[in-house]
């Protein structure tokens, strides 16, 4: 059976079938379609990470844009053996977050504007439910933003970006044990910060803490 050169060529030129590393190489060379494909693949996670860690949409936008420009400018330093492109981009985003944090350390945050609070409307929920949900999301995001950076990063990466412990460890360049420990500590702090939201349970009898410390 004869090979179909046209089909093979089409498949090779199709950016969807290419790896991130190849798309990055083509992007550096100026291939716009490859760059757009790579951008589509990575932008959501980077934007989400930046948004949750900085708790600021403009900062998240700035970081996302800077990450892609840095990928183009420093992409030559990327080595496939050291990890995937997403991890490389995540490392750049992490550094940018720290730089922005240092830059804005001297400033005091103003309370968020009303328009900055996301209004999530779903047809399945009633208006009251939507309001309660939006309020809850806002409170959780505020609580996350108030965590120390290393706990915040662990919570964002594992709980909000949905990475496994191993992936998170690779992204944050630490051990799985460290991730686990930071996540646990972050959860404890978050639970404490969100305590007023949680109602006391009447069905649980108080037996005293001494009984639990067996």
């Amino acid at each position: 059976m004869k090979a179909q050169p046209h089909a093979v060529e089409t498949e090779m030129n199709n950016p969807d079938s290419r790896s991130d590393a190849e798309l990055l190489r083509l992007s550096i060379e100026g291939d716009e379609s490859a760059f757009l494909r790579l951008y589509e693949r990575l932008k959501r996670n980077i934007f989400r990470y930046a948004y949750y860690v900085t708790a600021s949409k403009p900062a998240a936008e700035e970081i996302t844009q800077e990450v892609f420009m840095a990928l183009l400018n420093q992409g030559g330093n990327y080595r496939e053996q050291q990890g995937d492109v997403a991890g490389f981009a995540f490392g750049i985003a992490k550094n940018l977050v720290r730089r922005i944090r240092r830059r804005e350390q001297g400033y005091e945050c103003l309370p968020p504007e009303e328009s900055a609070i996301p209004i999530l409307v779903s047809e399945a929920d009633s208006v009251a439910e939507q309001v309660v949900r939006n309020e809850l999301i806002d409170r959780v995001q505020t609580a996350i933003a108030s965590l120390p950076l290393h706990y915040r990063e662990a919570v964002v990466v594992c709980d909000l970006c949905g990475l496994s412990y191993t992936e998170a460890a690779a992204r944050l360049r630490c051990s799985v044990g460290t991730i686990r420990s930071r996540l646990n500590r972050g959860h404890s702090l978050l639970a404490r910060k969100l305590k007023p939201l949680q109602k006391p349970r009447a069905d649980v009898g108080l037996t005293g803490t001494e009984g639990c410390l067996i």
Partner: protein, 242 residues
């Protein structure tokens, strides 16, 4: 089963694996009697639910960001395409500057070599100074005395005056030992300036050239002297002939 084990189980489970079905019978039994652990589990479950809600409502990437990133990409690509021309222009400028600098340097070197200030000054001095009568040029470190008949005695006063005059000029010369004996230094002498082969030139001078008054010596007489000249043509010392 202890509280510590319950907490360890919760901490080890990722993604809020807090379903009671995943708990062992011992854990469930402990939770039934331990309010603290039950509260802890409930708290963590609520937190997991809250985080899940946040995760399910991710922020949308604004379209303005897409446009900005694409614009930045196109700008970069355009900049890279223009770079060769810009680079060429820069290289041309650098080359022009380098050539100009090299030409200036060569001109400066030629100027220094052809018209050195010292030699020019010496030439001017030589042109203005009275021309000595060169009798003989002797090999270094050898002096030749003139025939007795040709030498006329100058007056003692004239010699004294001349000595004083010469010693005034050679006051800065602090190292007479570098010159042959009998010579009075005419310039500062050290191992650099007075080293090497030198010649003795015999000259005859009229007393007036040495600043002597006509009455102090016979105007018709001439004073003979040996001048010690270095390889560069500059006189190092002088010795009056007796």
């Amino acid at each position: 089963m202890s509280c510590q084990q319950i907490r360890q189980h919760v901490e080890d489970s990722q993604d809020g694996d807090l379903d009671l079905r995943s708990f062992s019978a011992g854990m469930v039994a402990h939770l039934n009697v331990c309010a603290e652990c039950k509260h802890f589990i409930g708290q963590r479950r609520e937190l997991a639910l809250s985080l899940w809600r946040v995760r399910e409502s991710p922020p949308e990437v604004p379209t303005t960001l897409d446009a900005a990133v694409l614009r930045a990409f196109r700008k970069r690509v355009a900049g890279h395409r223009r770079e060769p021309t810009a680079l060429r222009k820069t290289t041309d400028r650098v080359a022009i500057f380098s050539y100009s600098a090299a030409l200036l340097a060569v001109a400066a070197v030629i100027l220094i070599l052809l018209l050195p200030g010292r030699k020019r000054a010496q030439r001017i001095e030589a042109a203005q100074a009275p021309q000595p009568i060169v009798a003989n040029q002797l090999p270094a470190s050898l002096s030749r005395s003139a025939p007795e008949g040709e030498i006329k005695q100058a007056s003692l006063e004239a010699h004294k005056k001349l000595d004083k005059h010469i010693s005034r000029r050679g006051a800065i010369a602090d190292n007479h030992s570098l010159l042959p004996s009998g010579f009075t230094s005419l310039m500062y002498c050290d191992r650099l300036s007075c080293a090497g082969d030198m010649e003795i030139v015999r000259v005859q001078l009229s007393p007036s050239m040495l600043g002597l008054q006509p009455g102090e010596t016979d105007a018709a007489e001439t004073i003979r002297a040996d001048v010690l000249v270095g390889a560069d043509g500059i006189a190092r010392g002088i010795r009056l002939d007796q």
